[in-house]
């Protein structure tokens, strides 16, 4: 495997909960929400890595830690071999940028596009002062907006156009790694495709590396080279996209795939894909975190021993954190054959 651009080791982000005074006075530990709880992850230069999972699994928190918006409780983030903390030098901050989910609340409504972009270009001294206007126009062209949009306010744009402005803002600092947190889920279906295609084009044109955080498995299958599935603060499975969709080894990944509604009614499973609700990240299950909902869990193994993320015997790049991922018993339900991604 080539040298990773970004390396995450044992990353944890725990949020202490308020109102724990009574508990502490009674001599018990304060309650803690474990949003991210021991994540190892690598992103290779030039790839698009998809991070999938349900709400509350910690995927956005992980993204925010990588960008430096949160100071992780434990673990380390290395970028091109260099250790990164949340307090970063301007020059390092510039290299990792983020596109947020909601283009309605992540742009300053009182600033024109030109003001938003020019401020960044000035603060980071990206181009000489005289070239700022020209660079602004270039950035808009890059995301497919006309130059006259520079003097408009965010409210004058549609959702898709706003998301283009957000992407232009992230690109203004010429980042190497782009973290896109659900960049299309707030957009209308017919517009989602344009934004996904744009991200793909930019990656090729600018040699970007992308971490795409998403809950939509079909979107991930379409744009990502590799996928990591998260459940309750941990990565449960990671491998190349094609392999994940055709040969998922973790019962949670299998369930996630089987839960996706299908356009051809006969191709969806009759049975419920994953039963029950995800447990609270405040009161995590013992052993394997998925065992209370797992169709193949075995007692006492799964409720006592925490599985490690390990690769298959003949599949070095395919990691899964399940006691039975690479041996007996056979998974209870494998989703219907999914078309090979084109």
């Amino acid at each position: 495997m080539p040298e990773p651009l970004l390396e995450v080791r044992g990353l944890a982000m725990h949020y202490p909960l308020r109102g724990g005074l009574g508990r502490r006075l009674r001599g018990r530990a304060a309650e803690v929400l474990r949003a991210v709880d021991g994540v190892d992850l690598e992103i290779v230069k030039g790839e698009t890595l998809g991070l999938v999972g349900e709400s509350g699994c910690g995927k956005s928190t992980l993204g925010r830690c990588i960008v430096g918006l949160e100071e992780p409780t434990a673990g380390e983030i290395r970028y091109a071999g260099e250790l990164l903390s949340a307090q970063r030098e301007k020059a390092t901050r510039r290299r990792i940028q983020m596109v947020f989910q909601d283009p309605y609340s992540s742009l300053n409504p009182r600033m024109t596009v030109r003001q938003t972009l020019a401020e960044l270009l000035r603060a980071h001294e990206m181009v000489p002062k005289k070239q700022i206007d020209a660079r602004c126009e270039e950035l808009l062209e890059l995301v497919g907006l006309p130059a006259r949009a520079l003097d408009a306010h965010p409210r004058q744009f549609s959702g898709g156009q706003r998301q283009r402005v957000s992407i232009a803002r992230a690109l203004a600092l010429e980042p190497e790694l782009l973290v896109a947190d659900e960049p299309v889920s707030a957009l209308d279906v017919s517009v989602q495709a344009t934004v996904l295609n744009l991200l793909d084009e930019l990656r090729e044109k600018l040699g970007l590396t992308v971490l795409l955080i998403a809950h939509n498995m079909a979107v991930v299958r379409h744009v990502c080279d590799r996928v990591a599935a998260m459940y309750l603060g941990r990565i449960v499975e990671t491998t190349e996209t094609q392999e994940l969709f055709t040969n998922p080894r973790h019962p949670y990944t299998q369930g996630l795939l089987a839960a996706v509604p299908r356009l051809v009614p006969g191709r969806s499973s009759e049975a419920v894909a994953v039963a029950g609700d995800p447990p609270s990240p405040i009161d995590l299950p013992t052993g394997c975190r998925f065992h209370p909902r797992c169709p193949i869990a075995q007692e006492p193994l799964c409720s006592e021993r925490d599985p490690v993320l390990e690769s298959g015997p003949d599949r070095p790049g395919h990691l899964a954190a399940c006691h039975f991922a690479w041996g007996e018993p056979v998974p209870a339900h494998v989703p219907e054959i999914i078309q090979e991604a084109t």
């Binding site: 349900e54 709400s55 549609s158 898709g160 209308d188 279906v189 017919s190 517009v191 989602q192 495709a193 344009t194 996904l196 295609n197 809950h215 939509n216 498995m217 079909a218 979107v219 299958r221 379409h222 744009v223 369930g255 996630l256 089987a258 839960a259 996706v260 509604p261 299908r262 356009l263 051809v264 009614p265 191709r267 969806s268 419920v272 894909a273 994953v274 039963a275 609700d277 995800p278 219907e336 054959i337 999914i338 078309q339 084109t342």
Partner: protein
């Protein structure tokens, strides 16, 4: 063919705005046979939610039904007087909303909320109504219903809250249940549970469903027929398999070519150019023509009513054969 349970004809819903009149629904027609499930699909602003709200009288205050008819079991509720209308809606129609947290009463125990229907509409005693509530909770798959009936909505997970909403919708024995994006706020595994619950309830109890969603696959999973809406009008109707496999309207085709999906073939996602029109000033002729790649001279003027095709299908596109030809050349659904 039997009489449809619901027949909506040429429905018009208008908003009075400062700058003029906005027709959110402009001549929508669709019908549902008893025991069937109809999906209304379209993007935001297509009028699907307003059409649904008009059926139960839940339109915003600035909107009104400006024309057309809504027949439930052959009786037009647009023309009926207010008390008859309330009676018809109260006894035969209920609704499941997108956001169970805002649709449920936060300060009332969920058991009592479910019991309200049987108490008021069916005239059961308080005790019988409570028993009925627990029965309904069991029916919708809420574990430990006796204890959960005492819970307040905030004590339940999103999936359980949506199950409570479904129990409430079932509580007054409706003939027709309207669902407004009931799973959009839920996670994919919970969405799967709720969709499968709705399907099995529909099969077991024989209720009729109208299901609004922007997600084509969600419609395919729950409904037998579909009506595709664009800019306030129904542009295509038919059986789900037929419409999604061989769309006969360029808008339906455009949607199918733009969404990433496990069952669709695409090299690259192709999006529909442009944006939906401003409904206060819709384009003349076919409303989709400014964004349509098949548009010709004759699409720019005139009216575009639904044309009946074979196999109980209908489309508003006069060049539907061109659309069909395009699909034959380049199928949208991948073979298994």
């Amino acid at each position: 063919m039997s009489e449809p349970l619901l027949r909506v004809t040429d429905l018009q819903v208008e908003f009075q705005l400062a700058r003029g009149i906005l027709r959110a629904v402009d001549g929508a027609s669709f019908e549902v046979q008893p025991g069937e499930a109809l999906g209304l699909v379209g993007e935001s602003g297509s009028g699907k939610t307003m059409a649904l709200r008009a059926l139960v009288g839940l339109l915003p205050r600035t909107a009104r039904i400006a024309g057309g008819s809504i027949e439930i079991d052959g009786e037009d509720i647009v023309r009926a007087d207010e008390s008859r209308r309330r009676e018809l809606r109260g006894h035969s129609v209920s609704m499941i909303f997108q956001e169970p947290m805002t649709a449920l009463n936060p300060v009332m125990r969920v058991g009592d909320q479910i019991a309200e229907g049987p108490l008021v509409r069916l005239g059961l005693t308080r005790r019988r109504a409570r028993e009925r509530a627990v029965e309904l909770m069991r029916l919708v798959g809420i574990p430990d219903p006796l204890r959960r009936a005492e819970a307040y909505p905030h004590e339940l997970s999103g999936g359980l809250r949506q199950r409570v909403m479904i129990a409430i919708a079932l509580s007054s024995d409706p003939k027709l249940i309207l669902c407004d994006e009931p799973t959009t706020a839920l996670d994919v595994t919970i969405q799967d549970q709720i969709l499968k619950l709705l399907r099995s309830l529909q099969e077991r109890l024989g209720v009729t469903l109208v299901f609004v969603s922007h997600d084509l696959a969600v419609i395919a999973q729950t409904c037998s027929s579909v009506a595709v809406m664009y800019a306030g009008q129904v542009v295509e109707t038919g059986r789900v398999e037929a419409v999604f496999r061989e769309p006969r309207h360029p808008y339906t085709l455009g949607l199918l070519r733009s969404v990433p999906d496990f069952d669709l073939v695409h090299e690259r996602l192709s999006s529909i150019p442009g944006a939906p029109p401003d409904l206060a000033a819709p384009p003349p002729g076919c409303r989709f023509h400014p964004r349509c790649s098949f548009a010709r001279e004759d699409c720019i003027h005139g009216d575009f009513p639904l044309l009946q095709l074979e196999h109980a299908r209908a489309t508003a596109c006069i060049h539907h054969d061109v659309c069909a030809e395009d699909v034959r050349r380049e199928p949208v659904i991948a073979d298994a």
